[in-house]
């Protein structure tokens, strides 16, 4: 059954999946940080026109797709920057134009919908040696820039105006992120397909930020999660029982989503615990509250009593039945 991994097409597919899985979240993190999670989707739709253009003209669709996707990404960025529109309206405009253009061109070229579908939903197992090299090269560029320029890209995505006064060329960095996103979309197009591309850019980031507090760990964890989902999803689809046809794109995205579903409750629990443990503000306590006689309790509050001990100024309050008890002489003050 594991024989399948010895086939060259499968090894090529695994390599492509590995690099794509690392690269897509590397740029996806910045996109999510700017609250443009659907940017990848917008670019993916625009790239449909690029693919159709390739099918129509006979040029390799990868190259036409990357060209059109980069142009589309730059256009989205310019509309976002020039107009006082939130990114989402600009994205919506490009979405529909790109998809409609692609369908129109495919029809004009007399190509069957099946050919276009390879790109819409991925066809990683038909990837050629040349495609693998292109994928690896593009992915390496995306990863190197995404990680190497992290301080600059972080600052720009965090606060554009601050970054501008800090002397950074904000427009250039924004365009860079848009171009990187377009490149990631094009390489991920063979793995998961244009319609699912955004999932690989966004879902690993959403998963990793459930458990992280810093940007750097979010970025790193998202890249690892994206890689695991890509390679794991591809392997799962390859190991599917004979006779069933499981598209790798779907297993990759579903596996990625499964990771989110698993970590989400954990993240929610951690955040809740964090909130409960946060120190109370060190304001002077309300003197009018009546103190509790310690004798009313069947135990003394202490480090081991099981009630949450929350720092409050220079002492500790114990949370007990919705009360905040501060030990004071023989009784508990209500804080």
């Amino acid at each position: 059954m594991l024989d399948i991994f010895s086939y060259p097409f499968m090894q090529r597919a695994l390599l492509a999946a590995f690099f794509t899985g690392l690269a897509a979240p590397a740029v996806g993190t910045y996109i999510v940080q700017r609250r443009l999670a659907l940017l990848g989707d917008g670019i993916g739709h625009v790239a449909v026109t690029g693919v159709a253009l390739g099918l129509l003209t006979g040029i390799a669709p990868t190259w036409t797709a990357v060209t059109v996707a980069v142009l589309g990404a730059v256009l989205i960025e310019i509309i976002r920057e020039r107009g006082h529109t939130n990114g989402d309206v600009a994205l919506a405009l490009l979405f529909y134009g790109g998809l409609a253009g692609g369908v129109l061109l495919t029809g004009l070229g007399g190509q069957s919908a099946a050919r276009l579908q390879e790109y819409l939903f991925g066809s990683i197992t038909t990837i050629s040696v040349g495609d693998v090299w292109v994928t690896m090269a593009f992915a390496a560029v995306v990863i190197l820039i995404g990680v190497g320029l992290a301080p600059q890209l972080f600052a720009v995505a965090q606060d554009e105006e601050f970054a501008r006064v800090a002397g950074l060329n904000v427009r250039a960095y924004n365009l860079l992120v848009a171009v990187l996103a377009a490149v990631s979309v094009t390489i991920a197009m063979r793995t998961v397909g244009l319609l699912l591309v955004s999932a690989l850019m966004v879902v690993p980031v959403a998963t990793s930020q459930q458990l992280t507090r810093s940007f750097r760990t979010t970025l790193g964890a998202a890249m690892v999660l994206g890689m695991v989902a890509s390679v794991g999803g591809l392997s799962l689809s390859a190991l599917a029982p004979a006779g069933t046809r499981v598209a790798p794109g779907s297993t990759i995205v579903l596996l990625s989503l499964a990771g989110f579903v698993v970590t989400w409750p954990l993240g929610a629990w951690l955040r809740r615990r964090q909130l409960q443990r946060a120190p109370f503000p060190a304001l002077p306590p309300d003197e009018t509250a009546t103190p509790h006689d310690a004798a009313q309790h069947d135990h003394d509050h202490g480090p081991a009593c099981g009630h949450a001990a929350i720092p409050h100024g220079d002492h500790v309050d114990y949370v007990h039945d919705g009360h905040r008890h501060a030990p004071h002489e023989q009784h508990y003050d209500e804080h």
Binding site: H84, P151, F215, P281
Partner: protein, 266 residues
């Protein structure tokens, strides 16, 4: 005598062809602590944005440290604390990371943080009294603490001239006091501070000079005024509609805004 950090001559700003600031002359000497005050819509935020180059002047010139703003590249000498409700974005970031981004003015591309960078970041965190929160996520902090993070970010670049846009707006009294202590520390180190404020509160003790804006012009420039004097009818809004489009409605990422995508006006 050091060079004048900030000099605006006959400055005017129009937004979408509509004159907002007119005929403003402002000269701030090294070490001054200036409060830009005035009613909502009087143009104080627009003025700071013009002084930092975020909004182009329609006429007049800004000179920073004796260099025309258009040719000014010494951005590590300038710090800016924008008006923000918080420091959080779509992805978690630690307090330390946000403050470290303020050090970019002094870092070269693709170089790791130097020891001087790290100590400046640590120092900035200590000045705003958040040194023990460096590893926490910014979104876990209260609004006032996040405002202090933004100030620490500006301090990390060790600026000589610091602009702050409404740092105390919506911040509770303990945090205002912490802010005041941080700015006092900075002023004592010789920094020049230009602060936009609707009301000074505890900052009043630090301010050495007040500039009161009214309807896009400077209505008063001199010794600090008490809060109630700033709201004197002489300085109050002349009419009810606001010119305050600069601060919020046109800011790209921070407010939902429906308009045609190619509508210009920048």
């Amino acid at each position: 005598m050091s060079v004048t950090p900030l000099h605006l001559t006959d400055g005017a700003v129009a937004i979408g062809g509509r004159p907002v600031l007119r005929g403003i002359d402002l000269r701030v000497e090294s070490g001054e602590f200036v409060a830009l005050m005035g009613a909502n819509g009087s143009g104080k935020t627009t003025l700071v944005r013009a002084l930092t180059g975020l909004r182009p002047l329609t006429s007049g010139t800004v000179e920073l440290f004796g260099t025309d703003l258009r040719h000014f590249h010494d951005w590590q000498r300038v710090g800016y604390v924008p008006q923000r409700l918080g420091a959080a974005t779509g992805v978690p970031a630690s307090v330390w990371e946000v403050v470290a981004s303020g050090r970019l003015t002094r870092r070269r591309l693709l170089r790791p943080l130097s020891r001087a960078d790290r100590s400046a970041i640590q120092d900035a965190l200590e000045v705003v009294d958040l040194a023990d929160r460096g590893r926490d996520g910014v979104s876990q902090l209260s609004g006032g603490q996040q405002q202090r993070v933004l100030i620490a970010r500006a301090l990390a670049g060790e600026p000589e001239l610091l602009f702050l846009d409404e740092p105390t707006a919506g911040v509770d009294l303990p945090n205002q006091l912490a802010l005041t202590a941080a700015l006092g520390e900075l002023a004592s180190r010789g920094a020049t501070i230009v602060l936009v404020a609707h009301e000074l509160g505890p900052l009043a003790g630090l301010v050495g000079r007040a500039v009161v804006m009214r309807d896009g012009r400077v209505a008063y420039d001199g010794a600090p005024l008490a809060d109630h004097q700033v709201h004197d009818p002489r300085f109050a809004e002349t009419h009810l509609h606001h010119h305050h489009t600069d601060g919020h409605a046109l800011r790209h990422d921070h407010s939902p805004h429906v308009a045609s995508p190619l509508e210009g006006g920048r």
